[in-house]
Symmetry: C2
Subunit: 337 residues, 2 copies
Amino acid sequence: MIIDIHGHYTTAPGELQAFRDAQLAGLTDPSAPAPTLADISDEQLRDSVERNQLAVLRERGGDVMLFSPKASGMEHHVGDRAVAAAWARASNDLCHRLGELFPEHFVPVAQLPQTPDGELDGVIAELRRTVGLGFVGANVNPDPSGTWAGLPITDASWFPLWEVVEELDVPAMIHVSTACNSNFHTLGAHYLNADTSVFAQLLQGDLFQRFPRLRLVIPHGGGAVPYHWGRYRGLAMRNGWQDPAELLGNVFFDTCVYHQAGVDLLTRVIPPENILFASEMLGAVRGADPDTGIAWDDTLRYVDAAVRDAEALAAIHESNARRVYPALDRRLAAQGR
Amino acid sequence: MIIDIHGHYTTAPGELQAFRDAQLAGLTDPSAPAPTLADISDEQLRDSVERNQLAVLRERGGDVMLFSPKASGMEHHVGDRAVAAAWARASNDLCHRLGELFPEHFVPVAQLPQTPDGELDGVIAELRRTVGLGFVGANVNPDPSGTWAGLPITDASWFPLWEVVEELDVPAMIHVSTACNSNFHTLGAHYLNADTSVFAQLLQGDLFQRFPRLRLVIPHGGGAVPYHWGRYRGLAMRNGWQDPAELLGNVFFDTCVYHQAGVDLLTRVIPPENILFASEMLGAVRGADPDTGIAWDDTLRYVDAAVRDAEALAAIHESNARRVYPALDRRLAAQGR
């Protein structure tokens, strides 16, 4: 079985964006009533993925995709707690419905209603609600301000969230949203910078001594981390930090690296048990390499070409995901898979 | 000949830091007189490198090192224009003297007195002064605020600097200094993030259409860029940007990547004519890999193991540097090299 652990609902019906637009309009007009999401039929939901993510998943031989709301659309920097809560709930509920409509293919992962003030009560409530609904993980934005105005994820202010993530036994994917600084292109710099920065935060901190069962997935192949693995080992030695390898009991990397050489490096540097297959399709990078005709985000090709050991490949395709996301494993097992 | 294009004077005599400390103390006491740098003898300067960078350079078979003031010490976020100007001048003058004391080994590269306000008159003046002294390049900080409060290097506010860099026919290495945000470890995240972010800025902009002879060196193996080369190609196609390969007439990457797998990726993805040998020793990462006994920053080993084509290897070792840094080539030629 091929499990893609990183997909976003980037093709939602226009009603969702209309709801968001009404939310944003309400920010400047406090007298406006809180908007409600227009009805979206099951047929609309089916249509929105059948010719998109589901078609591509099937075409490439994939079976299951973990599916969360669009990352750049989370926009945790906008609005207040109530706006964030309503936006996360509306977005998550659509992913939940897709998981019900296509139980064999889509498995929901939550957006959390984070806010720049770092308040966590509503975040934890939505995490509990969605996990109760069957969501198997959540995306946690290490920079809800969009300007890195907050504190590292190893700071004590984050601990209440990590306690609940650990308690619920779901992993968190560390995933930023839109950058609010013109120096950082959201998809071309901010995403990768966040992956890199968080890994360095973890190296310096003691998060996994405090939360030994916490599991974090760093997307986009870990940003710059595997490419600079020697740098991290050397920095750790020089600074008396833990060795990067010591993080690998709790940190996992996805395979969203869009060329063969990159995936070759990833699979050479990071042990196979820490790599989870993912494509983030249809995401930041769409279309095909004109030189080869291969879609940039067809990462299964790169992974299958890079990993020759059948056991390692099976781990990356399936068993690592089932281990890191136990609720996913239970869901698949209940389906007899 | 082996030319290392990325070295910093990280082992300066204590007098330099004492001068800096006096500068910083003066910031809170405006009545204090501007400090002066205590005399530093030629013997002190020789001592400061002979057992350090020079010994390591020789031991590893290197010949020439481009040598600039310590990057994390540039601290462009601190003080005002006068403080920045005096600090850059003092730091540069020591590198100049080292270039005079060891003309066959050290070639100076300038620190510029940038300030968070982005003012460029003093920056350009110091660039002209140092190039007049024989400096062959300069480090340009794309984030003088340390908090990314400024504008991308493709913004028009930077053009006066790029005009002069182009006119003087020296390349600029894009190198940040200390991060002023606890989310970004200076050496473990900020440096790599800056490399990545600037490349994405260049992809979106038209800097080299405006300044076709401008040459920029992105250090640390280009941050996350070569590892995500497919991502950049795909993003460029989708967004109608120029292809990353089109930047390669003006953008060069150094080899400061501290493990074999990383250098293998770099040399596989980036054409050899765009790769400049460098180690940044003695810099961020010191010491040796306990598994192999090889120093992390002994990048010559990795490069020599990665590149089997003799012509490509010679380009990376020497001729690319002489082409990208014409003033270096003239200096070496005058020495009969």
